[in-house]
């Protein structure tokens, strides 16, 4: 209505978020999916020379066909990203900013200290997403609540040195090299996917209904996108409320912030929204939630096609990584402490 802009001055503009509709139509696919392995804070999955590796805190695990897990290596700090090149050499990034390739730490240029994703291109180049200049990967929530946009994407051509491909990104959290000198990067705090090449970055998929995490290729030429937390209107409000947000960051313990999280509902000190009240023994699946699980399949043109969900009443939240390994879909639920093997997507 024509009076709305005037009335907005008094009542404020409604905060809206993209609906879970179309390809994002909600289901319980992740909650119904069989568990391949229980793994605390299961995070990044990758396949190297036919073997599936998963990171879990500071530990690197090898996963067997039936879900048997074997600890391959342990580090002093949590692993934040994994990737394997065509020969099966593993690159492992740690929370303190070190990058280890094939067992040897690599020298990194200044500015890389928060490695959130790694990926090898078909041409042997190594792509790296640096989430933020201010925080390590483990402090992602602080980076979001400070509304930073200091992330960058780097590339090392085979035999070359790291060069910066894009900067000013709001927490790049997934990187997927495509043919040519281009990669698709998920920009988490802006809820979108951007295309990064020598010319800089442009958005290709916008208005995602959640916070996107890792990207991985699917066998049919499409892309698997993990979404680790939902958009939530209260959180969007808090992001606009400067005074409340800064007071909250100072006075409230981080796990009880009004902010996205990998799992929720485990402590009575966490914030609760009206729709999340348990009524007559029921916690509504569509209740507003701070955590969520979602894996989306995009086609080769990056149009969303289908998705699997773990909704507000589910437990398989914080899905930070999904891969296709030998035709099988594997999903790491960092908040649900497990690796899932859904039937299909």
């Amino acid at each position: 209505m024509i009076f709305d802009p005037i009335l907005d001055l008094f009542r404020g503009k409604a905060i809206t978020i993209p609906p879970l509709d179309g390809a994002f139509c909600a289901n319980a696919g992740l909650d119904e999916a069989p568990v391949l392995a229980e793994l605390p804070v299961a995070d990044n999955l990758c396949q190297a020379a036919g073997t599936v590796y998963a990171s879990s805190g500071p530990g690197l695990y090898r996963l067997g066909e039936g879900g048997e897990r074997e600890r391959v290596e342990g580090f002093a700090v949590p692993i934040t990203a994994l990737a394997a090149d065509a020969d099966g050499t593993l690159a492992v990034a740690l929370d303190d900013g070190t990058l280890i390739e094939g067992g040897t730490p690599l020298p990194l240029p200044k500015g890389i200290s928060c490695i959130t994703a790694l990926a090898y291109g078909e041409d042997g180049s190594l792509w790296l997403a640096n989430g933020s200049e201010q925080h390590p990967p483990s402090a992602w929530v602080a980076d979001l609540m400070e509304k930073n946009a200091s992330g960058s994407v780097w590339r090392r051509k085979a035999g070359g040195a790291f060069e910066r491909m894009a900067r000013g990104l709001a927490w790049p959290y997934g990187v997927l090299p495509r043919s040519g000198d281009m990669a698709i990067v998920s920009e988490s705090w802006r809820h979108r996917l951007v295309r990064v090449d020598a010319g800089g970055s442009d958005p290709v998929v916008k208005h995602l209904p959640g916070y996107p995490a890792r990207l991985s290729p699917a066998a049919d030429g499409g892309v698997l996108l993990s979404i680790f937390a939902p958009r939530n209107r209260l959180i969007e409000l808090v992001l606009q409320e400067k005074h409340y947000r800064y007071d909250m960051m100072i006075e409230v313990p981080r796990e009880y912030w009004i902010a996205p999280t990998l799992s929720s509902g485990r402590s009575f000190l966490e914030p609760l929204q009206c729709g999340g009240i348990r009524t007559m023994g029921v916690h509504k699946a569509w209740a507003p939630s701070r955590s969520y699980g979602m894996v989306v399949r995009l086609d080769e043109h990056l149009a969303p096609v289908a998705s699997l969900h773990s909704r507000a009443n589910g437990r398989r939240h914080g899905t930070t990584s999904a891969i296709e390994a030998d035709g099988r879909l594997l999903v790491a639920s960092k908040g649900g402490n497990c690796i899932l093997a859904p039937e299909g997507l």
Binding site: M1, F3, R11, G12, K13, A14, I15, N232, R233, L234, L237, E241, H243, Y244, D247, M248, E251, V252, P253, Y256, W257, I258, G265, S267, F268, L269, E270, P271, L272, Q273, C274, G275, G276, I277, R278, T279, M280, G281, A287, P288
Partner: protein, 707 residues
């Protein structure tokens, strides 16, 4: 405290924002816009036209106003009934003609002329009413047709007989008095308008036919379903409108002593504009005579003012048209958006800095540390019950609870698998207590204090208290009676949690956090209800101390327990005895060992406590987010706390799994077991207390043994 926070505290605690919402809930705010328009119109023309308020000028204007008001009143009634009457102008003209023709040509007395006028109006009104009411033709088209036919008839008649009227020499003092004289300084048209307005107003607001008109206009189908004769009611609104126009026509006939080709021309547009500008809804059902009168004054002052300022008919019509368009737009937008505006502005949060609580985290080592003990409770009525806020047991060990369906359910001892509806009340029964005679007394949300006799007969004890002087919302009625307990002298002490929200919106009160909770007492001796304390943030549970010299009540949103002294040196005063708990306090009840049980309906969260210090953030939250997204206290985890006479915390229990008892609003000890209720739960818990007296019964503790 930072300066910004201090300013926020002043801004939100001293400025009474909540009054805006309370005023908007009043129906009379609908009159505010037309009233403002009236003042502006009169003030504007009064100041730019010299002599506007002089006596002669007023006399002439008011005669015209009286006639015009009669027409508008008639049209208002038609519009209230959901119709529209465009034929008022032609009925007006024809009635005027009837009057002058009867008086001047047929040389009949004045009263016959009046009757002739009224008969004309009645006939035309009846035709309209029959076509629209009984044959159910469209009101707009039908009255347009009668308007055209009536106008044509009038034009034919006035051409044929106009000269005869001019030449007649008939005169009468009565006729002249009606047309020219005044009674007590006020002209006859104004007197008629006043009398008709009063009668119509009373009829519309206080009588069965008037209510029928409003009901039909509000919703034809509902009115029909309620047994109202819709067609007849519609018929009579047009007859009434016809009669009003006819009376006005008679009055103008006496004033002008004649009728010319222009009589009543354009009157329908003027009257319609007046009715709508006054704030009567075109959709029917909403409006009043007063609004019609306000509109009449606005329109008449405007048109006369414009004429006296030298503007022609074209400008006049243009202004009327624009006025009508604006009024219709405002009417529709207001009607559509009023409740939205109300929703957005009603919640008016205040500032509060809560005290730092002791931790309730399991293993924190404080007396409040929660455990998972209550998840061991057995369940009663699982899947059958919805919302047992409070639970109580009688001397025969039967268990009673309220449900959100408005019933009191009785579960039979000893296994509580069989149940019956003990009494149907209608509201949501919350707190329960047995009196000395075994009557069950209950606080019913949004209704009041009720008693249920042992044979299930329901009696209302109290539904109101004295209204406070400064209230805008009527705070005499009990909005959220929550819990009660009964003193040895039979007086019933109970809480009314909030004056701002209805019982089912109780959790919204936590967002606003305004202290409007009360402690009241009902005296069965004289049936009176008195307010003892006011201004607490959600008063909740009430429990008589074991020695009956004082009572405890909880203040939920401040997480406090207060003691109110009934006797002794501090009688009539309250003091806070436990403060800054980590959970929101609810019902309190006696325990067998001389201590007290208290329920926590939810737990404080650091993010919500912080939001209490940011009222502006909460206000924006309520305006910009749908209610389901609002930040709430964590009422998904509750607990049971036991405190002793010295207010030490003896024990704390909870169900941290959240499966059986996420929220606890009440608990009742009976013969060594604890029965647990929750307002949003679907079961009653039954929990064996180790070491409790297996014979202790609260009924005996309160009222002694009975044979």
């Amino acid at each position: 405290m930072k300066l910004r926070e201090r300013l926020q505290a002043w801004r939100y605690n001293l400025v009474p924002d909540h009054l805006i919402g309370e005023i908007l809930t009043k129906r009379w705010t609908d009159n505010a816009i037309p009233f403002l328009a009236l003042i502006i119109t009169v003030a504007t023309f009064g100041s730019i036209i010299p002599g506007f308020f002089q006596l002669y000028s007023l006399q002439e204007s008011t005669r015209q106003l009286g006639e015009f008001s009669l027409v508008v009143i008639g049209l208002t009634v038609v519009m209230l009934g959901g119709g529209i009457d465009l034929a008022v102008g032609s009925i007006f003209a024809l009635s005027a003609f009837s009057a002058v023709a009867t008086f001047f040509i047929l040389e009949q007395p004045v009263w016959v002329a009046l009757l002739a006028s009224l008969a004309t109006g009645l006939a035309f009104g009846a035709v309209n009413g029959y076509l629209i009411g009984f044959l159910r033709l469209r009101a707009f088209i039908t009255t347009l047709v009668t308007f055209i036919i009536g106008r044509a008839l009038y034009d034919i008649l006035i051409v044929a007989h106009g000269s005869k009227i001019q030449m007649s020499f008939v005169s009468s003092d009565t006729w002249d008095f009606i047309g020219d004289g005044t009674f007590l300084g006020i002209s006859v048209p104004i007197w008629s308008a006043i009398v008709l307005a009063v009668v119509t107003h009373v009829a519309l607001t206080r009588s069965r036919p008037g209510w029928h008109v409003l009901a039909v206009g509000g919703s034809r189908r509902s009115a029909h379903n309620a047994g109202i004769q819709v067609r007849l009611t519609v018929f009579f609104t047009y007859v009434f409108s016809g009669l009003c126009s006819a009376l006005a026509g008679f009055l103008i006939a006496t004033r002008l002593s004649g009728a010319g080709p222009g009589t009543g021309g354009g009157l329908e547009i003027l009257a319609l504009t007046a009715a709508v500008v006054g704030g009567n809804s075109l959709g029917g059902g909403r409006g009043s005579v007063v609004k019609g009168l306000m509109g009449a004054i606005i329109v008449l002052v405007l048109t006369n003012g414009l004429i006296r300022l030298g503007y022609g008919t074209g400008t006049n019509q243009m202004v009327l048209g624009i006025l009508l368009a604006v009024a219709v737009t405002i009417d529709i937008r207001w009607l559509k958006n009023r409740h939205k505006v109300l929703n957005e502005v009603y919640v008016a949060p205040v500032y509060l800095r809560m005290g730092e609580p002791q931790s309730a985290v399991p293993g924190s080592g404080t007396p409040y540390a929660l455990n998972n003990k209550l998840s061991e409770a057995e369940h009663i009525g699982l899947g059958e019950l919805e919302g047992p806020e409070d639970v109580i047991l009688d001397r025969n060990d039967n268990l009673y609870c309220g449900t959100r369906h408005g019933e009191i359910i009785r579960f039979f001892a000893p296994d509580y698998t069989r149940s019956e509806v003990f009494a149907h009340i209608g509201g949501f029964p919350l707190g329960l207590a047995f009196d000395a005679d075994g009557n069950l007394i209950t606080c019913v949300g949004a209704m009041g204090l009720y008693a249920i006799s042992p044979d299930g007969k329901v009696t209302r004890l109290s539904a109101e208290t004295a209204r406070s002087w400064t209230s805008v919302n009527d705070d005499a009625r009990l909005r959220d009676p929550n819990d009660l307990d009964i003193a040895q002298d039979g007086k019933i002490y109970f809480t009314d949690s909030t004056k701002r929200y209805d019982a089912h919106d109780w959790a919204l009160d936590s967002i606003e956090n305004r202290g409007t909770g009360r402690l009241l007492v009902y005296d069965p001796a004289d049936g009176s209800t008195k307010t003892l304390l006011d201004g607490y943030r959600y008063t909740n549970g009430v429990c008589m101390a074991h020695d009956n010299k004082s009572l405890f009540f909880s203040e939920s949103w401040r997480c406090r327990i207060h003691r109110y002294w009934l006797e002794g040196p501090k009688a009539g005063t309250a003091e806070c005895v436990i403060k800054d708990m980590p959970g929101y306090t609810d019902n309190i009840n006696r325990a067998s060992d001389g201590t007290y049980w208290m329920a926590w309906l939810g737990m404080r969260t650091p993010s919500f406590d912080l939001s209490l210090r940011h009222p502006s953030m909460r206000k924006r939250m309520t305006r910009r987010l749908p209610q389901d997204e609002w930040l709430f206290p964590n009422i998904n985890t509750g607990g049971v706390v036991k405190f002793d006479e010295n207010f030490n915390i003896v024990r704390t229990m909870a169900d941290l799994s959240g499966v059986s008892h996420p929220m606890v609003t009440s608990m009742r000890e009976h013969k060594g077991e604890l029965f647990i209720g929750g307002i949003l739960n679907n079961r009653i818990g039954r929990f064996r207390i180790e070491g409790a007296d297996p014979t202790w019964d609260a009924n005996t503790a309160y009222w002694g043994t009975r044979t």
